[in-house]
């Protein structure tokens, strides 16, 4: 399925884009994470959460939606 993936904060700096469409054929969020790390190896060392269709989801959730977001924590104040 075609996923629209949004990147935030330092993740967007690492992928060099705020958003992109990716074809993805696996089932879980953990698989998706692995596929993204294969595409962007530097992601491996980063902390981030994944949102699917505007809801934060865990690694074992099923990829069902077309909109994914990668959110790193920010510490600045």
């Amino acid at each position: 399925m075609l996923l629209n993936i949004k990147y935030f904060g330092l993740i967007a700096e690492l992928t060099h884009c705020n958003e992109e469409a990716l074809e993805f054929s696996y089932t879980t969020i953990a698989d998706l994470k692995e596929a993204l790390i294969a595409k962007y190896p530097d992601l491996k060392a980063k902390d981030f959460q994944i949102a699917q269709n505007k809801e934060i989801v865990s690694n074992n959730a099923t990829v069902s939606g077309d909109e994914i977001a990668l959110l790193p924590p920010f510490s600045g104040g």
Partner: protein
């Protein structure tokens, strides 16, 4: 009272709502980029009792965004300087300034004195401490955080809603996410995010619906895009804190910092053979253009220990002294005891070398 007339004439607030604001007690952690606008609007709104805790000093580089301060505040403690400015804005409210660091020792006592906590801190250790103390004291806290051109806002621990740990269960490794000091931040961004945080505080006090609980608002100042994402509660994240495992973890990371030895500009003169270690990323400027300086980004330090000269005293530096502190911690764990942190960052180091303090 004419001061609050524009609130009182709003049918959703009225005198009754204004009275709620006047009897509310709010504690603001950090009087920096986020804390300043939060404090400014809460003071103007007539929040009855405000607490401000910040151990830091006003520096010139803060004035680009920390709007409560002026040149006359330079060198002053931020909590005290903020109180001074805010008392001029509204002398009818009570403001307590605490010029100290929020720690596991003072957090619970302090939180108990207030009804709502606002997290405007600038580091993960404090953010997790605020979360955990808020859970233990059963107080809602309004969260805001910024990175360069982007910000996040949410309300945690409110009416059984999620906590910060439900969103980000584990603190990132210290130094893996740089703060404003190190990477820069658009000046108006904390103004926008801080104002949204003040708005959430006021909504909670007035009992409005649609408090930003269970949601994370993400704002991008470059694209003017806002994404609001749903965050679910995870009871096990609360249990971690309620079983009191977590506060002790954060405390431990704080206590091990005390073993890090800082070196002053003057002390640099007393040491003969120094090897400087620049632990910043390769693109960061300015460089320290001297022979006895090696560049190893913090993340690569542990795998490049062979580059260190064991006969020399090692002095680590970065943009501001935060990553270099982490570097010293790593090196000391690896047995390099003759290692110091230059706390002032590259600009002070260059200045010190220019003045020939160090030959």
């Amino acid at each position: 009272m004419s001061r609050y007339n524009r609130h009182i004439v709003l049918s959703d607030i009225g005198q009754q709502g204004q009275d709620k604001l006047s009897s509310a007690k709010v504690l603001v952690i950090g009087a920096g980029g986020l804390g300043c606008p939060v404090l400014q609007y809460l003071t103007a709104a007539g929040i009855g009792k405000l607490g401000i805790i910040d151990f830091d000093i006003v520096e010139e580089s803060n004035l680009q965004r920390q709007v409560l301060f002026g040149t006359s505040s330079l060198g002053m403690n931020k909590a005290i300087a903020a109180k001074k400015r805010l008392e001029d804005l509204n002398q009818t409210i009570s403001i307590d300034a605490f010029s100290e660091k929020l720690t596991t020792e003072n957090a619970l006592q302090l939180f108990k004195e207030y009804e709502i906590v606002v997290d405007g801190s600038d580091n993960f250790a404090t953010r997790y401490l605020v979360n955990d103390a808020a859970i233990l004291c059963n107080k809602p806290f309004v969260y805001g955080a910024i990175y360069k051109f982007e910000g996040q806002v949410s309300v945690f621990n409110f009416n059984k809603g999620p906590s910060y740990r439900c969103l980000f269960p584990n603190p990132p490794k210290e130094g893996s996410v740089a703060n404003c000091l190190e990477v820069g931040v658009l000046g108006v961004l904390p103004g926008i995010i801080g104002t949204m945080m003040a708005n959430e505080v006021i909504k909670i006090i007035l009992g409005f619906e649609h408090v930003l609980s269970g949601k994370l608002l993400c704002y991008n100042s470059k694209t003017a895009e806002i994404s609001t994402l749903k965050v679910n509660s995870n009871q096990s994240e609360f249990d971690k804190v309620l079983n009191n495992e977590i506060l002790s973890d954060v405390y431990e990371s704080e206590t091990c910092e005390t073993s890090i030895k800082d070196i002053s500009e003057e002390e640099l003169t007393t040491i003969k053979d120094i090897q400087f270690i620049d632990v910043r990323e390769p693109h960061e400027q300015p460089k320290l253009a001297i022979k006895n300086c090696i560049e190893i980004p913090l993340g690569d330090l542990e795998t490049n220990l062979q580059l260190l000269d064991s006969d020399k005293t090692k002095v680590a530096f970065c943009q501001s002294g935060i990553r270099s502190k982490k570097a010293v911690e790593i090196l000391m764990k690896q047995g390099f005891n003759d290692t110091f942190n230059f706390n002032g960052g590259i600009s002070h180091l260059i200045e010190a070398l220019k003045q020939n303090i160090y030959e």
